[in-house]
């Protein structure tokens, strides 16, 4: 279980300060797939940074599987919004870096990396450097890198935003598969309402503001059911999420 309790978070902006979170609380069950959705700039990425241990809450405390978070965890994988690729490594090296860092023996990770590169359709560019990739290719490298790690907690910040509709759907399927097979805990940030309903066993709708507020929590037990995307249920959920977002949106323009 993941517990965020009474967390504050403040950014320094020159001389002023921005309080993004104030006494924020959140619980995520093991094996859950939580989706964060909300207007741009509301603090989604910040929350992932806090969960990953890359940022420390100004106050309060975060526990992951009953351990207090102090710095990064080996079994957490995090896909950063801007990919975080290393410009001096080729695609292949970028993908295998996570495993190298974890001291996996080369012989063991080679096939894993190969397979992931193939799954992401990066075979042709595997010797390219990041600056020689298209935007979507970069994003897929970041995804591949995180998935090779076989984490127990997977944090993803808009991991599919730069992909075309079909690749995106294919990879959504892949993510769903991995989540179901390995029963790992995932936290996903997305701007696509369909993606949220398709991938999230629970959806948290955030509202812009200082501090950020939660406007709604939708549980989505049918997630992963074959053919879910075509059901009436799915459509209803998306409409509901949309209505929650719109309410937030209205609030925002009224501020």
């Amino acid at each position: 279980m993941i517990e965020v309790s009474h967390c504050d978070f403040i950014y320094n902006q020159g001389k002023s300060q921005v309080k993004v979170y104030d006494d924020f609380n959140l619980t995520i069950e093991r094996g859950e797939s939580l989706v964060l959705i909300g207007p741009s700039g509301c603090g989604k990425s910040t929350l992932l940074y806090l969960l990953s241990g890359l940022l420390k809450p100004t106050a309060g405390n975060i526990k992951i599987f009953s351990e207090s978070v102090k710095g990064t965890r080996q079994k957490t994988a995090f896909i950063l919004q801007e990919y975080g690729l290393f410009p001096w490594l080729t695609v292949e090296q970028n993908v295998s870096l996570g495993l190298r860092v974890r001291h996996t023996v080369k012989r063991n990770y080679k096939p894993l990396v190969e397979e992931m590169i193939r799954k992401m359709g990066l075979g042709e560019v595997k010797h390219n450097f990041p600056s020689q990739l298209s935007g979507g290719q970069r994003q897929r490298v970041a995804l591949a890198r995180a998935l090779t790690l076989q984490p127990d907690l997977l944090l993803m910040d808009e991991p599919l935003s730069a992909l075309d509709a079909l690749t995106r759907e294919r990879l959504q399927g892949l993510l769903l598969e991995i989540w179901q097979e390995q029963r790992l805990t995932t936290v996903l940030v997305t701007h696509s309402i369909e993606e949220a309903v398709f991938l999230g066993s629970r959806i948290l709708v955030l509202l812009d503001g200082r501090p950020t507020k939660v406007v709604g929590e939708i549980s989505n037990p049918l997630v992963g059911k074959p053919g879910y995307r075509q059901t009436e249920e799915f459509f209803q959920k998306t409409s509901y999420v949309r209505s929650l977002l719109e309410r937030g949106g209205l609030d925002e323009s009224a501020r």
């Binding site: 890359l54 965890r73 290393f86 410009p87 001096w88 450097f129 600056s131």
Partner: protein, 260 residues
């Protein structure tokens, strides 16, 4: 292949052009000044060839050995320390002022003390060069590491990288391009210091050779020494460029979006 060949050719032409230009300038200066202080290029080149047979070659190798050894030493100490100072704010807060205070002190004034400890051999010369070059590499590396975007570091930490791995996989490669710049600079500094260091307690090295010719008022021989020193410098620069091209290949991609 083809492309690299072309680049290489382009570079060779550049060098040729620069050499021709320098020689012409020199020739012109020698003609118009008509001072014994400045020999003609012909005289200098003749002296170079004549003396190379004798012992100029030996002086050249001695100097090369000293410069390379001391730059390497400075590099091996300065690079890790610079990276650490750039990343560990706490260490930097104490060490940076130390560097700021000691860096500008002309190390030459410590000559008696250096001699006291290291004697008259190669040791004190190499130490002196190392000592000075070390600071340059240290400061550049430190500043380079401080410019590394925190997101890149976050990225590695999120992969589960520990502190040591941040050094190994992020800070080192990210600062390499700057380190190569500082190596280029250091080569120049090292040679300048060498020139000074070779003017005491030695009868070998280009510095000795130049000073010796100078005090013998033999400008053509002195310029033969200078030519060799320039050759030494260019040679080392080319070596640094070579490693730069290997280790920082990602910086020199020929892809279209990269260059213009």
């Amino acid at each position: 292949m083809n492309l690299q060949g072309k680049v290489f050719q382009g570079k060779s032409w550049g060098y040729l052009g620069a050499i021709v230009f320098l020689l012409a300038l020199w020739q012109y200066a020698a003609w118009s000044l008509q001072t014994p202080l400045l020999p003609t290029p012909q005289a200098a080149i003749a002296a170079t060839i004549r003396l190379f047979e004798a012992d100029l070659g030996k002086h050249f190798w001695v100097s090369t050995y000293r410069v390379v050894l001391s730059t390497l030493t400075a590099f091996l100490i300065g690079l890790p320390l610079g990276i650490i100072m750039g990343y560990e704010g706490r260490i930097d807060r104490f060490l940076a002022p130390l560097v700021y205070i000691t860096y500008p002190i002309p190390k030459i004034v410590f000559l008696p003390l250096i001699l006291l400890f290291l004697g008259l051999g190669d040791g004190s010369k190499i130490f002196l060069i190392t000592f000075i070059v070390f600071f340059q590499i240290l400061v550049t590396t430190r500043d380079a590491v401080r410019k590394v975007q925190s997101e890149t570091i976050s990225s590695l930490r999120s992969l589960g990288g520990n502190r040591f791995q941040v050094y190994r996989y992020v800070l080192l490669p990210a600062s390499l391009p700057d380190v190569f710049t500082s190596l280029r600079l250091s080569m120049g500094t090292a040679i300048a210091v060498l020139f000074f260091a070779e003017s005491f307690a030695t009868t070998e090295g280009l510095g000795y050779f130049i000073m010796d010719s100078w005090s013998r008022a033999a400008p053509d021989e002195m310029f033969a020494g200078i030519i060799m020193m320039a050759l030494l410098g260019v040679g080392l620069f080319i070596v640094v460029d070579f490693f730069d091209n290997i280790f920082c290949r990602w910086q020199h991609l020929n892809g279209y979006k990269e260059g213009k």
